[in-house]
Amino acid sequence: MMATVTLGAPPAPAAPEEHRSVSSWFAERGPVQMIAAIGGVLALWLALFGVLHGRFTLALAPADTKPLHVWLSDLQTTVGEGRNTNPLFTYFFNPIRSVVDAFGTAIADLIAHPVDGRPVPYIGWLGVVVLLTFVAWVLGNWKVGLLTLCGLLFMGLQGLWQDSMETLALTMAAVAISLLIGIPLGIWAGISDGFNRVITPVLDFMQILPSFVYLAPLTLAFLIGPAAAIIATVIYAAPPVIRLTAHGIRSVPAESREAVESLGATRRQELFGALLPMAKRTIVLGINQTIMAALSMVTIAALIAAPGLGQVVVQALSTQDVGTAFNAGLAIVIMAIILDRTTTAASERVETQQRKSAGPSKYRRPGIVIGAVVTAFAIWLSYTYQLVAIFPSSLQIGSVHLGLDVGSPIISAANAVTKWVQDVFAPVTNGIKDVVTAAALDPLQSLLASSPWWLAFAAITAIAAIIGGRWSALITAVCLGLIAWPLQLWQATMETLAAVLVATVVVVVLGVVVGIWMGRSTTTDKIVRPFLDAAQTMPSFVYLVPFLALFSASRFTGIVAAIVYAAPVSIKIMADGIRGVSPETVEAARSVGSNTWQVISKVQLPMAVRSLTLATNQGLIYVLSMVVVAGLVGGGALGYLVVAGFAQTSLFGKGLAAGLAIVLLGTILDRTTAAASKRIGRASE
């Protein structure tokens, strides 16, 4: 893709530095040679495939197991049976559970659960609304304060106040624990190269391992309840803040560090006086990412009895009630937008404060005092009076009856739209599915999964070597080897790989097209971005039912779900990359008479080639995280095996092995594309 784009670009006269960078990239290993080499590998692969296909494919039926799978299942059973006498539980898991449980329950008592014989929590809706609006204003600005106010009231009007608060409480508990563990670990990884090398693969593992794999073991270790749900969320949500804290500290310029050291500061002074303040903005960004990750676990955690919005979504789906699921999904999206914008505003405030040494406006301090008093008063009111404790479904003011329900209209509208879309488009979309499956997915899958395993192994490793270099080839060979043995899930992994590649191609194409469109026009960006945010935070369970109607239970349905989730990331990265091209360069190109198409294809895209590789890399990782969801809608292969492992005790081991195979596949794809990205980056410098 990216090679063909730059290939057709003759040196742009107005961008001499671009000309040089492209030519130096050509010099290192030109795209022509690269494509030729990959083409050669593919040709040889196809020729041998013609003769050898169907042999040595290491096929394994979904219900069949290998000794390792059985051993892992037995291990889980044995651990479960010895639970009450095992010292690991008595001295390790149980104390952790008690602490986490107590913490989670305390927060939920405060804002979500009925408590103390009261039918409501300590703080009713008015108290929560005023408190959070106040906090958003203090941390961010009045705009996010207003957003918080409106967003929270809207959740109440949706009829989802208590569920939203359950979700908020669980998210807050998980985020707090993630930060408590994550920031110190991140600082350590920022200071120590050795620890950084150790923790990075662990973080990769935590993020790529599908959470379905560890749900059942977690309830075994921490019982059903808040602790297991919070810990499941922490496993997925802690990595971003660790990574970004480390990254923030590492990006402090060496000169600044040396300057502080030359003043004779101790390591402690250096850390708290220089490194942390300078990395503050990146750390806040990490907190933002952690919050978003925690919210994306809401529906998964519902499978182990976590209360809240996820529960509403999952239960609505058992009766195929898309409207109700959408209503709850919308509340999750709103919560995500509030938390995202507030933390972003907070990080901007941090930045402006750093730049201007002058204090904030003179009205701020008295404002905070008044705000705090009002908040305390609102909390007292909501503790005492029913009307401001339980969100009312209607108001009676004198003789005027005011309905306060937007949930029902949203539910019926969503149901009507879903029905209409299904009725009108299902014939067309099923046709699209058949064409794409026959033209792209089937041939690719057959090449990968019906080749003898050693042939596919050699070919994939060779392609990794061409794209990413020697190191990528080695990593690929090791990971593929582990998949073949001891995991013994070769064919299923190849089937998954085929679907992942098809999805990623679409994601990257969308990333380029929509990304350029957004990058070139601020208005488009403003209009499209909220939809991207919604696509990323709306739980995929909500749109699975209409997708099933549109595309039947098939591999393609899984691919579409993955595209919806992964495309926004690629689009955002590309849009940022295009916007990063300096306006002078674009102006210069235009002044020599280039038309729009020439500006895009000869100036903006080649200069954003680094973003393109990053968009590909992130697109792949996001697509991979949807493999399990694909398994729920007919995607089969590794995703199905993970789901089956959660459902059947006897398949637990195989599900765990499939989860590990997904991690290995992710490592191959991530390392290879990251290496390619680095190479291109080096070449274009």
Partner: protein
Amino acid sequence: MKRIAIAAVALALLISGCNATKVSDLQARGELKPGAKPCGTFNLAINSWVGYEANAAVITYLAENVLGCFVKQRHIAEQVSWQGMSTGQVDAILENWGHDDLRQQYIENMGVAQSAGSTGVKGQIGWYVPPWMVEQYPDITDWRNLNKYADLFKTSESGGKGQLLDGDPAYVTNDDALVTNLGLNYKVVQGGSETALISSIRQAQQERKPLLAYFYSPQWLLSEVPMVKIKLPPYTDGCDADPAKIACDYPDYDLDKIVSTKFAESGSPAYTLVKNFQWTGEDQNSVARSIAMDGMSDDEAAKKFIDAHPQLVAKWLAGTGAQNAA
């Protein structure tokens, strides 16, 4: 800021003036009836299908409103529900489909759970086709004719053969072995979830698309789309002994209730209620329909059924120490 403060004070006056209901005036639910044995907390596992929800709705309604229990519903997957028996977090499972491996582990090996008898509902697993197909191809319901129609069932997923769609991996299936041993030109495609099955079935009937699917009764969807079961070679005792050689239909499952041993020995009236609880497939379907198709809440659906069946309910409550039924 001042304006906000004034608004808050005004709001406070409004609230205390117009609607001065205090939180402390509100009553919590679940009061004990005089004469009844104390029930305490009753931990109920809720699995995700609607038939189960119907059982749970009725039991929960009676336990809360008649026995004065505090019912804690836990929405969890089946495997996790059994796990909860050993940790004391789940007292009862109200509709168990087989699960021989879990029975072995938790009942035989660990002794933490036991069966509390049948729910009275017979579970049936099999292969189903939508009703429009039976009208058009009347002989399709015999497995011997399936090969004749295999072409109809081809999809993008079935690799040139007919597609047999399977659903949630939690359910028992011998379909791979059946297809092989009956010499059928079909491929089993994993839908992966009950949602995938239900969507496909609805679509198949609505758009008259061919579909052969693994399905089961009782299931609320069957009252919306009356799927027709394919006749496979009849089940005989022991015909499913060797999983690889199965060539016969699925047996009827006696859906039963599982309780934790601790709960069974506690003498809780809720245990007696669970043990007595028995109804028919039609009863369950009527409650499930109220929930899934009429959009009633669990409580409303349960109350409607209970009000209409006083004698049955009295039987369930016998020996619980409840003064009067419902």
